[in-house]
Amino acid sequence: MLRSDLVRILRTLVALSLVPPVYAASTFPDYPVSPASDYSVSTQTAGLTIGLVAVEDLKEQKTYFHTEVAPKGFVPVFVVIQNGSKGDSFLFDKTKVTYGPADSSVSTPKEGSKAGESLAVAAVPLVGLFFALKLISNASEVQQNFLQKEMQSTTLSPGASAHGFLYIPVPKNAPRQKIHLRVPITRASADETFVLDLVF
């Protein structure tokens, strides 16, 4: 009698182990990617095109991140970079990206300006998600998805493209100011750095 009970318990455990847990069924869809020049905010220099869209709609944030990001003080910005040149490779270093308020009273950002030229903008480096994740969500699946979707440093070989999200801090529960994003790109062969400026 005892043994048949054990068998029944064992069978139940085996059956339960075959059923995937509820959270395993939750999937995070990929954000759709378009050519960089198709985005309303885009710029081009030296055969390199960068385009972006700020995903500010809370429903969209829920769809792609399973959480509302804006009330936690961040705006996810989807960035696409395409290398349309035939022979040059470019280096995108995430740690060099900076952001700041786009103040109309200061000099207008120049498209594809050289890194040496000064632009009157408060340039704050993007520190990455390490500290931000705890503020956004405690759920490990949500945190993992944020990291997986984040844009990472890469080399853009001729014809190659890269895409991903940058998470930019914004004031909580208040309309945000326009943001000036500065993306330095280095031409690998010449060690020459351009800054791609985008205001959105």
């Binding site: 847990p21 490990s140 440093s153 080399t155 690998a188």
Partner: protein
């Protein structure tokens, strides 16, 4: 009596089968680098700080875990990259001069791991390893972030530590293999080797 014993044995066999399938599928998939080596003398910079990299995740509300990725990387990177370069030396600081053509500098960007409620459910861990390759003039010639993952059981109170070690080992090993593959197929590094 005989029937009950048979059912019990069949149940055990089924469990063993399930576990073996789980372990096989949990092993990370790796890609081997191409056969042709890059004709470059490379120095792999593994600083003591890099080897000591530990990333802690979680909070008091969830489960707090420390992923000792640096320790595993310092064992796994060299053998994986030896297959890519004609010569690879292992150094603990960036060389200022010497007989090397490229300097390979790894950095852990972050790790992410899911948690599960059940000890027998598979969890997933991602590791993000960034590479900066410089030539001897100090110019960055290649930069890449390798993202690899592995799956293992969460484990219970007694097996969690062992499973944590296994998932870190598998994801870092896979990242090392993937790094080798990416370097080997990089047009920028291939160009330098000619």
């Amino acid at each position: 009596m005989f029937q009950t014993r048979s059912s019990f044995l069949a149940g055990l066999l089924f469990c063993a089968l399930l576990l073996s399938v789980g372990f096989v599928t949990a092993r990370a998939q790796t890609a081997s680098p191409p056969d042709t080596k890059l004709a470059l003398r490379a120095a792999l910079v593994v600083t003591p700080e890099f080897c000591a990299t530990k990333i802690t995740k979680g909070s008091w509300a969830t489960i707090k875990e420390t992923f000792e990725v640096g320790k595993i990387a310092c064992v796994e990177l060299e053998p994986a990259l030896e297959r890519v370069f004609s010569s690879l030396t292992h150094v603990t600081a960036t060389p200022s001069s010497g007989d090397v053509q490229v300097v390979l500098m790894p950095r852990f960007v972050d790790v992410a791991a899911t948690t599960t409620m059940s000890a027998f459910s598979n969890r997933e861990m991602d590791v993000f390893l960034e590479w900066t390759v410089k030539d001897m003039s100090g110019k960055t010639v290649w930069i890449e972030t390798v993202q690899r993952s592995a799956k293992h059981h969460m484990g219970n109170l007694f097996t969690h530590k062992k499973n944590l070690k296994l998932i870190v080992e598998d994801s870092v090993k896979d990242a090392a293999e993937q790094s080798a593959s990416k370097m080997s197929s990089s047009p920028e590094l291939r160009k330098l080797s000619h």
